[in-house]
């Protein structure tokens, strides 16, 4: 790892964490339920990006499966929550 890449990854990880913190503000203040669901959606995408970039940092592709599972289950959760907002029940 060259001295070029390490600070870049550090800066990017800080950016992701800041983005997650800012999105948490939206998650807490709302004002509506769909805002909170959208904030959760944004949070899982950021967590996925953090895992991907950590995979670069540690120079291993073992983190790929983690990112894939976060993407899958994050989508499932968001879709279920949106469906719940639409109908008031998840399974019809």
């Amino acid at each position: 790892m060259t001295p070029l890449l390490q600070p870049a990854i550090f800066v990017a990880l800080i950016c992701y964490v800041l983005a997650m913190a800012i999105a948490t503000v939206r998650l807490l203040i709302g004002p509506s339920a769909q805002d909170r669901v959208l904030a959760l959606d944004f949070l899982y995408v950021n967590a996925l990006l953090i895992v991907l970039v950590l995979g670069i940092r540690l120079a291993t592709d073992a983190y790929f499966e983690v990112a894939l599972l976060i993407a899958l289950f994050g989508f499932l959760g968001s879709a279920a929550l949106a469906k719940f907002l639409l109908r008031g029940e998840v399974i019809e």
């Binding site: 060259t2 870049a8 939206r26 959208l38 904030a39 970039v53 670069i56 894939l68």
Partner: protein
């Protein structure tokens, strides 16, 4: 020596892509907090979903392919998954928001004439 130069070039490109991805995420979060209306707030997270994820995955593919000495293309699966799921989530949330706003305040555009017909 040329291999060393190629390594530096690839790591430079990887660094640029990673920083771009982080900046896009940050901009998306700022827009998500600052915009006024939910339907406006639907837009900024797409920045992180599309270009941010593309940049991070391309960086991962580039760097891991270089460090392992063989093509490691797994990260494209994540791009493909996000490409399919992000619009579904957005459309479902927009529908839910439209439905709830219409029930709560009625201050939303009326449904299209085509939408009422079975």
């Amino acid at each position: 020596m040329s291999g060393d130069l190629a390594m530096w070039a690839i790591e430079g490109v990887t660094a640029l892509l990673v920083i771009a991805s982080g900046a896009l995420s940050l901009v998306a979060a700022l827009g998500f907090v600052r915009l006024d209306d939910f339907f406006q707030r639907l837009h900024p997270p797409a920045l992180a979903n599309t270009l941010g994820a593309w940049c991070a995955s391309l960086a991962s593919v580039l760097f891991l392919s270089m460090s392992e000495g063989r093509p490691v293309l797994k990260a494209f699966v994540i791009i493909f998954l996000l490409m399919m799921t992000a619009p579904i989530t957005t459309a479902l949330l927009a529908r839910a928001a439209l439905f709830r706003e219409r029930q709560a305040t009625g201050r939303v555009p009326p449904p299209l004439p085509m939408a009422d017909q079975p």
